[in-house]
Assembly symmetry: D3
Homo-oligomer: 69 residues x 6
């Protein structure tokens, strides 16, 4: 499947924190560069997410903001 | 200013494409790792975005999806 | 690729309206049930979207609101 | 009330799963076509959501992605 | 129609800027407090938006971030 | 830090409700005008949010919908 979301950063799952409805997943997309995702628990289970798994962090371009110091 | 968005990836603006209401901004957050943002033209101008500028790509954790091959 | 977005509705592209940075794509997901998407022009081109093409309308569960009359 | 969100799919609530802050609501918008929503628990209660209730699944066009096989 | 989005701020349209696919709408929700929306041109036309019109700025709770100085 | 999100409404935290992964924060941005945010518990803790604290409710323009009666 190919998706219209412009950003698909390849990485490794560093941690998964379990909630009641949502889980928090941290992905390392480059050495020292981490991306945190909140996804439904059902999705996390369906994807078989666990520490060390190779995944993509996918983000729509319209969901990215730009900040400057 | 400190913000609740969990992800703030430091990077360099690679390109800015101008639209009527929105602009498209590409940020390199690690060597070979790029993040594309769509932001309002007014914001891009207000932030003084241009190729080579140091910026942060900011994303809420609930806007990140996880995909597996 | 398998993604954490909970909703992937199979359908047929009914129309594509071209903008400067974004395109508008209408997908029929069931007889008489249409879903409209705004995606970047670059994504629409990369996916080869055109009237009649079979696609999925993908939506995160946290982006769906519920309304009652 | 009439809203700018382009998508308002009429359907029937199939299930409601209760969380600490958020609930998960599944709506059938056509025979065999389901949409899952994560909304705040307070909203679910305020709308009186329960299995069998007629509702709309409302989604902004910019929150819909397109995928192809 | 009653919707699950937690925030519906009553206000007056101050300006509408027209784009190719999207329009930008500024709403004053309290004296000196303005909220800017980007919505599809089709929605803006369908709602009959124009300077001075009474509207609601509607935002999902999960789309609000918190920042501190 | 200056961010591309068009809306940053100054206000006072009225309440914080704690969840497993997410917290709900209510901010008064003008007398009688409240904005509710759902943010990660980790963010709420990191920002030191508590009743009475001065904060900004930050929202991207593309996350604001417009409704009319």
């Amino acid at each position: 499947m190919k998706i219209s979301a412009r950003n698909a950063l390849k990485g490794i799952v560093k941690s998964v924190v379990i909630g009641a409805v949502n889980d928090e997943v941290v992905v390392e997309v480059a050495p020292g560069v981490e991306v945190t995702a909140i996804i439904t628990k059902a999705s996390a289970e369906s994807l078989g997410l666990a520490e060390g798994k190779e995944v993509y962090a996918v983000v729509k371009a319209s969901d990215v903001m730009i900040a400057v110091d």
